[in-house]
Symmetry: C2
Subunit: 223 residues, 2 copies
DNA sequence: ATATACTGTGTATTTTCTACACTAACACAT
DNA sequence: ATGTGTTAGTGTAGAAAATACACAGTATAT
């Protein structure tokens, strides 16, 4: 049995230098055939975060995705048939895995697709506003927390990392200063491997040293 | 008629060098006679934020209080009689006005009182956890947003301002560096007045120049 | 007049941030 | 083997911001 509130999820991925959002075409009223955020009613005996993970899995086939609650939305007019409270989450995932399968296995949606920020159509409910707020949130958050790594595969190049920052912040960064700063933090482990499949000089691969990163991150938090 | 969810409010004030939280002694089951956060069911035809403002007014007699949503809490076990979702807000108010009347005018609570961080008793529901999260939130927020002013009267001394920062951050700051930094921002207006009622040299009063502060604040946001 | 308690101020040092441009390496085509 | 295209990878100097640190001045109370 369903509870009386829903969860909605803003799923961010990073692809071809751009931040993308996963949207679904609804197959249920209201807003049937309109694009919107993946989301649904939470089961009555189900923890809210479990519901979000379930929806994420149904849409992407992925588990263990970075997840944060954004905010609750409960406007009287957000749902045509009376107020339905929704708790919005945002998720960051490593799209480059490309294990992400976009065949929806639920019957309340018709299809799912990735949209770049500037391609997003008119959305159902207040979902447009929710995405705006999520973007504002990660733009702020990336400046004090290393969420960029959640958007990249385990092994990445410094240029890829910089591209994530540039895509989220919406501005270009100085290459030398960026590398200097990132390497100075000391939480990047240089791997004995380089990029493959590029038709030019392959770049060094790095991975995140989670221990060191948590140490530094916690210091930053408590400043 | 009531909706099926509640709002709870962490009301922060600043008094005698400490951050205080306003708690109420419940007069309703569950957790009758236990201290908890001010909060109640949202009316069916009432906007959520309106309900928070109503509760704030009922408890403090104040309107136009700084208010932000913290998070929604919906744990299956947070309420003994089944899941009740609550949306938690935090509020910052200028306690030194001391117009704050603590006679509750509702019948679902017995009394209200200010508690310093280290005096907070065991609380009803998950309210202890909610306060923890609110504190973490304002500790972070004060580093990038001038919320300190919300806790002070319109006219304040630089020492008072510093004391707010020290109370929130939980560490002592260097007086000269603090003043230098604050005055450099340029959003403080020096008043032709000094403190009154002190038995030593009276300090200069300042007030916030909201226009300049918003300009600088927005720049900071978009960095 | 004297004690008390807080206000208000400057400088030198270290650290962090910013601006800026070229050579090296590799893949591929010829 | 050579050349072309494309990105990788690197250092330094100047500016700005953060930090550490101590004492004389002023209002009040007795």
């Amino acid at each position: 049995m369903y509870s009386n509130f829903t969860v909605d999820c803003v799923i961010f991925g990073f692809h071809e230098g751009k931040i993308k959002v996963l949207l679904t075409e609804r197959n249920e009223y209201p807003f049937k055939d309109t694009w919107g955020l993946p989301g649904y009613f939470v089961d009555n005996d189900e923890e809210m975060e479990h519901a979000v993970k379930r929806i994420l899995y149904e849409h992407t086939g992925l588990k263990d995705i970075y997840l944060e609650q954004l905010s609750a939305f409960a406007g009287l007019k957000r749902h045509p048939s009376g107020r339905i409270l929704t708790v919005a989450y945002y998720a960051l995932l490593q799209l480059d895995h490309m294990k992400v399968k976009l065949k929806p296995i639920t019957n309340y949606m018709k299809q799912a697709r990735w949209f770049a920020e500037d391609e997003i159509p008119e959305l159902a409910f207040d979902h447009g506003q929710i995405i705006e707020l999520s973007l504002a949130k990660i733009r702020r958050k990336i400046t004090y927390s290393p969420i960029a790594f959640e958007l990249l595969p385990d092994k990445f190049t410094l240029t890829q990392l910089q591209m994530v920052y540039e895509a989220v912040l919406g501005k270009v960064l100085d290459k030398r200063n960026f590398r200097k700063k990132m390497l100075n933090y000391g939480f990047l482990k240089e791997l004995p491997e380089v990029q493959k499949g590029v038709s030019y000089r392959a770049a060094r691969l790095y991975k995140l040293d989670k221990r060191k990163y948590l140490k530094i991150f916690q210091q930053t938090i408590s400043f």
